[in-house]
C-alpha cells in the first residue's frame, strides 16, 4: 500500500516536471561550446526560473519545474551574441548555434584594491602604551605592535632584528643597545618611532633595499638624566650580583655609563652583547695569541654559572658628540677586572711506540684578568657620501698563577701576558655611474710581551746537563703589523652574477724569545729573532648561476693570488716563497624530484708558514712542552670534497639526509714529539712529504609523530682521520676513529608543559701503526622540562647525566631548577635559581687528543641559591 502511494507520488511528480529540454550549443564553426549558460525565463526582463551549463561536448539538459505554458530560452557565452528563443513547455531537443560578437562585457570598478603602504615611519606616543608597572623603555617597546624583545635583549620588528637603535637620531651604542633599552626610564621618553625598511647608509638609500627596521627613541626634554639598578644575593658561600646604569642625553651629546659586578659565575661580557651587523671585508682579529701558558684544565661543557668561581667587575662608558658637517664622533670604552679560581686534575696517557707514559697533575690555578677595550668612531653619512672610520684598541694585563702537584714533584708556574692591539678600519662607498664601489681598508698592530716562570726549573736534560736548578723563565715578545685594502663591485648578467674584488694584504710579524735560568741567559739554542713577511695581491671572483626552474644552482669561485713570503732569522735570510696560487672552489646543487636533492662540491687551497712552526730556537710553551723548528716553511695543499643527498617525504613528516666529507692535506713537514718518562715533551719538525686525511660520514633522520605530538631525531656520524708523526724517534701513523649516535625527542605534553630529551653516545679510539688502543666511551642524557604556570610565572627543571668509561667508570649527575615571577603592580622582577641541587663536587671528562687520552676532573661550584630583584630610577 505504502509503496503504491510512493509510486503514485513519483509518477505525479514526473508528470509535473515532465517537460525536459535538452540540447546542444555550437559556435559558427560547428564546434561544441562547453560552459555556455542556458537560461529559462518567463520573459526577457524577468528572473531566471531554471538554468543549465553545457558540458564538455556542448550538451545540456534542463527540467522545467513550472506550470507556465511557454518560456524564453536564452543562451549566452563570452564572445558570442546572446541567443533567445521562445519555447513551449514540453519535452524537446534544441540545437543552438551562436554567432561571434565583438560586444564587450560590462566592466565595473567599484573601488580600487586595498594595498598596504609600507616604508613609513610609524610613531607611537609612549604615554598611550605606558602601564603602571612599566619602568624602562623595553617594557613599553614590548607592547608596540610588531615589536618583540628576545631574552638575549635583541629587538625584533616583524620578526626581524632591528638594524639601528637611535636615541634622538643618534646611534650611541651601535649594537650594544641593550644598555639603553633595559635602563632608560620610560618617564623620560615621549615617542618611539619605527623607521620601516630603513637603510642606515644614506648613499645606498633607494639603491640597495633594506628589509630591516630601525628604532628611534624621542625624549621629552632636551636634557635627560635616567637609569636603573639591579641587586641580587645568594648562598652558599655569600653571593652577590649588582648593576647600576646611569645615563645623560642632550641635543648634541649623549652618555651612558654602567657598572656591574658579581661572584656568581655570570659572564659579564654577555651583559654588553653586541647585536650590530658585521661589516664586509677581511677582518684581522684583535684577540690575544697566547704562546705561553700555565697548565690548564678544559672547561666543562655546561653553563658557566655552575663551575666558574669568579669575582668580576665591569665598567663601561659610552659617549657621543655631534660635530659640524654631519660628522658624528663616538667613543665606547669598557673595563673588566676579574679573578677566577679553577681547581682540578688532569690525567694524561701518552702513547709512544712500545711505551705508555702516564701522568697525573693536580692543579690549583688563579687567573687575574684585567682588560680595557674601546673604539672611537668617526662617521659621515650623507646622501652623496658614506665614510666610516673606526679605531679600536684593546689592552690586557693577564696574570695566571698555578700550583701543580705531580706524583714526583710540586711546581709553581706564573705567566704574565700583557697584550696591546690597535686596529683602524675605513669603509667608503662611492657611487660611480650606476655602480656602487665599495672600498675597504684595514690596518692593525698587535704586540705581546709574555713571560712564563717555572720553579723548579724544567727540561733539566736539555738546559742544565741533567742537574736540578731552581728557576726558569721563558720570555717572548711578538709584534705584528697587518694591512688590507680592497675594492669590489657586484654585477648581474642574465642568469649569471659576478662579484669581483681586487685587493692587497700585507702582514709582518717579529718574534723575539729567550730562555733564562736563575735570571741568566742560556745559550743561543734557546734564543730566537724572527722576521716574517707575507704579502698577497688578490683578485677574487665568484660566478653564480641559477636555472629559472631552480633545479640547478652552480657556484664557481676562482680566486687568484700572488703570494710572497720572506723569513729572516737573526737578520739573515732563511727562506723565501714566491708563488702564484689558484684556489678554485666549485659547488653544484640539483633538485632531482620533489623528494630528492643532491649537492656536490670540491675545492683546492694552500696554506703556508704558520709562524708558530718556524722558530729555530727552543721555546717552552708550558712547564712540560718545549718546541723548536729548524725546518723550512710549512707548505700545505688542501683538497676538500663534500657530497650530500637529502630525502624528504613531507606527507609522512619524514626527513633524512646523508653526507660524506673527505679532506686530503699534503704537507712538506713531518712533526716530531719526544716524550720523556716525566711527560716532558720536545716538539719539532723535519722536512718529509706526507699526507694526512680525514673522512666524515653523517646520517641524520627525523620524524614527527602527530599522535604523541613529538618529533624524534636521530643523528649519527662516523669520522676517521689519519696522520703521520714521529714519536720518540720512530715514524708512526696515528689514526683517530670516532663514532657518535645522538637521539633527541621534543615533546609538548600540554600547552603549558614541554619536554626536551637529548642523549648521545660517543665511542672513540686511537690506533698507532694500526695497533688499536683502548676505547673511550662517553654518554650524555639531558632532560629539560618547561612549565608555564601563568603569564608572569615560569619554571624550568633540568636533569643531566654525563658518563664516561675508560679505565674507570665516571658518572656525573646534575639537577637545576629556575623560577621567574614578575610582579606587575610594583614593577619588580623576581628571579630565583637553584643550581647544582645534588651538590655534585666535580665533573669528569675523558677525550682523545693527538696521541694521548686525557681525563679532566674539574671542581664545580657548590649547590647554591640566588635571588635577584630588578628596579629602575
Amino acid at each position: 500500500m505504502k509503496s503504491l502511494l510512493l509510486l503514485l507520488i513519483l509518477l505525479l511528480s514526473s508528470w509535473y516536471t515532465s517537460a525536459q529540454i535538452s540540447g546542444n550549443v555550437k559556435n559558427e564553426k560547428s564546434q561544441n561550446l562547453s560552459g555556455a549558460s542556458i537560461l529559462l525565463k518567463k520573459d526577457s526582463s524577468s528572473a531566471i526560473i531554471a538554468y543549465a551549463i553545457t558540458d564538455a561536448s556542448g550538451n545540456f539538459k534542463l527540467n522545467i519545474d513550472s506550470d507556465l505554458p511557454k518560456f524564453l530560452l536564452e543562451v549566452t557565452y563570452i564572445g558570442y551574441g546572446k541567443y533567445s528563443e521562445e519555447i513551449k513547455s514540453r519535452n524537446q531537443f534544441v540545437a543552438i548555434k551562436l554567432e561571434p560578437s565583438s560586444e564587450a562585457l560590462k566592466e565595473v570598478i567599484v573601488k580600487s584594491e586595498i594595498l598596504q603602504q609600507r616604508g613609513d615611519t610609524l610613531s607611537f606616543t609612549v604615554s598611550a602604551f605606558k602601564g603602571k608597572e612599566d619602568r624602562v623603555i623595553a617594557d613599553v617597546l614590548r607592547k608596540i605592535p610588531g615589536i618583540q624583545i628576545m631574552p638575549s635583549g635583541q629587538i625584533k620588528y616583524q620578526g626581524k632584528p632591528i638594524q639601528k637603535y637611535y636615541i634622538e637620531g643618534l646611534d650611541l651604542l651601535e649594537g650594544k643597545y641593550n644598555l639603553a633599552n633595559e635602563n632608560l626610564n620610560v618617564e623620560a621618553v615621549s615617542k618611539i618611532e619605527i623607521l620601516e625598511n630603513h637603510q642606515p647608509i644614506k648613499v645606498l638609500d633607494s639603491l640597495e633595499f633594506s628589509d630591516r627596521a630601525s628604532l628611534n627613541i624621542k625624549l621629552k626634554k632636551d636634557i635627560t638624566v635616567s637609569g636603573t639598578a639591579e641587586l641580587g644575593i645568594g648562598a652558599t658561600p655569600i653571593l652577590w650580583q649588582a648593576k647600576a646604569t646611569p645615563m645623560l642625553f642632550a641635543k648634541k651629546r649623549q652618555t651612558i655609563v654602567t657598572y656591574q659586578s658579581n661572584n656568581t659565575g655570570k659572564d659579564l661580557n654577555r651583559e654588553i652583547n653586541d647585536f650590530s651587523f658585521s661589516s664586509k671585508g677581511y677582518e684581522f682579529n684583535l684577540n690575544e695569541e697566547n704562546w705561553l701558558s700555565i697548565l690548564k684544565i678544559a672547561e666543562p661543557p655546561f653553563s658557566q654559572e655552575r663551575w666558574l668561581d669568579n669575582n668580576a667587575h665591569l665598567g663601561s662608558v659610552n659617549y657621543l658628540n655631534k660635530l659640524q658637517n654631519d660628522i658624528e664622533l663616538k667613543t665606547n670604552i669598557s673595563y673588566l677586572n676579574d679573578r677566577q679560581d679553577r681547581i682540578g686534575e688532569k690525567r694524561t696517557s701518552f702513547f709512544t711506540p712500545g711505551d705508555t707514559v702516564r701522568l697525573s697533575e693536580v692543579t690549583s690555578n688563579q687567573f687575574f684578568i684585567e682588560k680595557i677595550d674601546g673604539k672611537v668612531t668617526l662617521e659621515k653619512n650623507t646622501k652623496n657620501d658614506y665614510l666610516k672610520n673606526q679605531l679600536e684598541f684593546k689592552k690586557t694585563w693577564n696574570l695566571d698563577l698555578g700550583d701543580l702537584e705531580t706524583t714526583e714533584s710540586s711546581i709553581i708556574q706564573s705567566n704574565s701576558s700583557p697584550f696591546t692591539a690597535i686596529r683602524n678600519r675605513l669603509d667608503v662607498i662611492k657611487p660611480i655611474g650606476k655602480q656602487l664601489i665599495d672600498f675597504n681598508s684595514s690596518i692593525a698592530y698587535k704586540n705581546t710581551d709574555q713571560s712564563l716562570k717555572i720553579q723548579p726549573g724544567p727540561f733539566i736534560e736539555l738546559i742544565n746537563d741533567s742537574v736540578n736548578y731552581p728557576s726558569f723563565e721563558q720570555d717572548l715578545v711578538e709584534k705584528q703589523v697587518f694591512l688590507d685594502h680592497s675594492a669590489g663591485i657586484r654585477k648581474a648578467f642574465g642568469a649569471f652574477t659576478i662579484s669581483p674584488k681586487i685587493g692587497y694584504s700585507y702582514q709582518k710579524r717579529i718574534l723575539e724569545t729567550s730562555i733564562s735560568k736563575e735570571d741568566i741567559f742560556t745559550d743561543r739554542r734557546f734564543l730566537n729573532e724572527l722576521d716574517y713577511e707575507d704579502s698577497e695581491a688578490y683578485l677574487k671572483n665568484t660566478l653564480s648561476f641559477e636555472s629559472i626552474d631552480e633545479v640547478w644552482k652552480i657556484q664557481l669561485s676562482s680566486p687568484l693570488k700572488y703570494k710572497s713570503i720572506q723569513l729572516d732569522t737573526f737578520g739573515a735570510q732563511r727562506s723565501e716563497i714566491n708563488r702564484l696560487l689558484f684556489e678554485p672552489q666549485l659547488s653544484l646543487f640539483k633538485k632531482i624530484s620533489a623528494n630528492w636533492e643532491a649537492s656536490i662540491s670540491g675545492g683546492l687551497n694552500y696554506e703556508f708558514g704558520d709562524i708558530k712552526r718556524l722558530f729555530p730556537g727552543y721555546v717552552a710553551t708550558n712547564y712540560r712542552n718545549i718546541q723548536r723548528y729548524e725546518n723550512p716553511i710549512l707548505e700545505q695543499q688542501n683538497q676538500n670534497y663534500r657530497t650530500r643527498l637529502t630525502y624528504r617525504q613531507p606527507l609522512f613528516q619524514f626527513f633524512a639526509n646523508a653526507s660524506y666529507n673527505y679532506r686530503r692535506t699534503a704537507n712538506n713537514l713531518l712533526f716530531t714529539s719526544k716524550i720523556a718518562q716525566n711527560g716532558q715533551t720536545v716538539v719539532g719538525a723535519i722536512a718529509a712529504d706526507n699526507i694526512s686525511s680525514a673522512h666524515v660520514f653523517n646520517f641524520d633522520t627525523s620524524k614527527f609523530f602527530g599522535k604523541i605530538q613529538s618529533t624524534i631525531k636521530l643523528n649519527s656520524s662516523l669520522s676517521f682521520s689519519s696522520q703521520d708523526r714521529v714519536l720518540n724517534e720512530s715514524k708512526v701513523q696515528v689514526e683517530n676513529r670516532s663514532v657518535n649516535f645522538a637521539l633527541s625527542i621534543d615533546s609538548e605534553i600540554t600547552e603549558w608543559m614541554s619536554i626536551n630529551y637529548n642523549s648521545s653516545f660517543t665511542f672513540s679510539r686511537l690506533s698507532i701503526d694500526a695497533e688499536p688502543l683502548q676505547n673511550i666511551k662517553n654518554m650524555k642524557h639531558l632532560l629539560a622540562t618547561y612549565l608555564f604556570l601563568k603569564d608572569n610565572q615560569y619554571i624550568d627543571i633540568e636533569v643531566e647525566y654525563y658518563g664516561n668509561d675508560f679505565e674507570t667508570n665516571n658518572d656525573n649527575y646534575f639537577l637545576n631548577i629556575g623560577y621567574q615571577y614578575s610582579i606587575k603592580e610594583t614593577g619588580l622582577d623576581l628571579n630565583l635559581s637553584w643550581n647544582n641541587i645534588l651538590n655534585t663536587k666535580e665533573y669528569v671528562d675523558i677525550y682523545a687528543s693527538e696521541f694521548s687520552y686525557i681525563e679532566n676532573r674539574y671542581m664545580l661550584r657548590p649547590s647554591q641559591i640566588l635571588a635577584s630583584v630588578k628596579f629602575s630610577f
Binding site: S34, G35, A36, S37, I38, I48, Y51, A52, I53, A56, E74, T76, I78, A104, L105, K106, E107, V108, I109, V110, K111, E113, I114, L115, R118, G146, M150, P151, S152, K156, G159, K160, E208, F209, S210, D211, A492, F493, G494, A495, F496, E546, K591, S593, A594, T646, R648, P650, L651, Q653, F655, F704, G706, T711, D746, E748, S754, A784, Y794, D796
Partner: protein, 272 residues
C-alpha cells in the same frame, strides 16, 4: 610575528610554473573574514583575484599573485636578500596562500598550497555544491543580479550572480551558476566575497598551473600538514635545512606565543 619571518623563507622560492591557458578577464573580490569565531572584532579584509580563461580559471589572494609575479619578473641572478625582501614588502600581506584552478572542460578543481619548501595539491570534481535559484533580483554595481543559495562544507551561503556576465564562476571554489557571482556571504557573516572590479585583460595574462613537482594529497592531509606545521614551525623549517641557534628556553617561549596567536585563528571557510 613568526609569520613574517616564515613567509620570507617561503617567498624565496616561487612556485615554478608552466603555461596552460590565457586569462581574458579579471574579477577582483574583497574578502572579509573573521579568523576568530568568538570575536566579531577580529574581522579582516583583503583583496582576492579571479583570472578567467577560456577553460581554466585561477583564484588566489592579491598578495600571493603580486608576490609571485614580482618574483617571476625579478632578475633571477640577482636574488639577493635585499631584492627578495623588497618584494616581500611590496606585495600586500595575505592570510591565504592557496591557488585554486578550475577547469571547465575537465570539470575538476585543483587547489595548490605551499608549506615551507614543498608545494602540495589536491583535486576535486565539480559540482561541489547544489544551487537553489531564488526569484529575488536586484542591482549590484550596475549589474542585474539574481539570488541563489547553497550549502557548502558546513556553511550556508547566499550568492548574487549576474547573467550579464555569462561566466559560470566565482570566488574560491564557488561556481556552477549561469553567470558570475558578484556577491556571496555565509549566513553568519564570517566569510563574504564582494566584487570590486571586473574588466577585460588587454593584453591577456597567462594562467600558470604549478609544475609536476607538486605533491598530490587529499584535502584532509593538507589540513593535517598545516596543523602540524603550525604546531611546531621550527621543526618543519629545520627539516628543510634551515637551522636555528636558540638559547635555552627561547624556543619554548616563542612556541608558546605562536600557539597563543594560532588560537585566535580558528575559523576556516570549509568547516567540514
Amino acid at each position: 610575528m613568526l609569520k613574517f619571518f616564515i613567509s620570507f623563507i617561503i617567498c624565496t622560492s616561487a612556485i615554478s610554473q608552466n603555461i596552460k591557458d590565457q586569462a581574458n578577464y579579471l574579477a577582483i573580490y574583497e574578502l572579509e573574514h573573521q579568523p576568530d569565531s568568538t570575536n566579531v572584532d577580529s574581522k579582516k579584509k583583503e583583496s582576492m583575484r579571479l583570472y578567467i580563461g577560456d577553460h581554466i580559471s585561477m583564484f588566489a589572494s592579491s598578495g600571493t599573485v603580486i608576490k609571485d609575479s614580482l618574483l617571476a619578473n625579478t632578475d633571477r641572478s640577482n636574488k639577493s636578500i635585499a631584492a627578495l625582501t623588497k618584494i616581500q614588502s611590496e606585495a600586500p600581506d595575505t592570510d591565504f596562500t592557496y591557488w585554486i584552478f578550475k577547469n571547465s572542460k575537465s570539470g575538476d578543481i585543483k587547489l595548490y598550497d605551499k608549506i615551507v619548501k614543498n608545494t602540495y595539491h589536491y583535486e576535486e570534481v565539480e559540482p561541489l555544491m547544489q544551487w537553489n535559484i531564488e526569484p529575488d533580483t536586484k542591482e549590484i554595481a550596475g549589474y542585474d543580479v539574481q539570488k541563489a543559495t547553497t550549502t557548502f562544507r558546513g556553511r550556508d551561503y547566499t550568492a548574487w550572480f549576474t547573467p550579464e556576465i555569462p561566466i559560470s564562476n566565482g570566488p574560491y571554489k564557488f561556481s556552477g551558476l549561469p553567470g558570475l557571482i558578484i556577491d556571496i556571504v555565509d549566513v553568519n557573516n564570517e566569510y563574504s566575497f564582494k566584487l570590486k572590479s571586473f574588466k577585460k585583460l588587454n593584453p591577456s595574462r597567462f594562467i600558470e598551473v604549478p609544475s609536476e613537482k607538486s605533491i598530490e594529497l587529499s584535502r584532509e592531509k593538507l589540513t593535517e600538514l598545516w596543523d602540524n606545521y603550525h604546531r611546531d614551525p621550527f621543526s618543519s623549517l629545520e627539516q628543510s635545512g634551515i637551522t636555528f641557534g636558540f638559547e635555552a628556553g627561547v624556543k619554548e617561549e616563542l612556541m608558546k606565543n605562536h600557539r597563543e596567536e594560532r588560537k585566535l585563528i580558528n575559523n576556516p571557510l570549509e568547516l567540514e
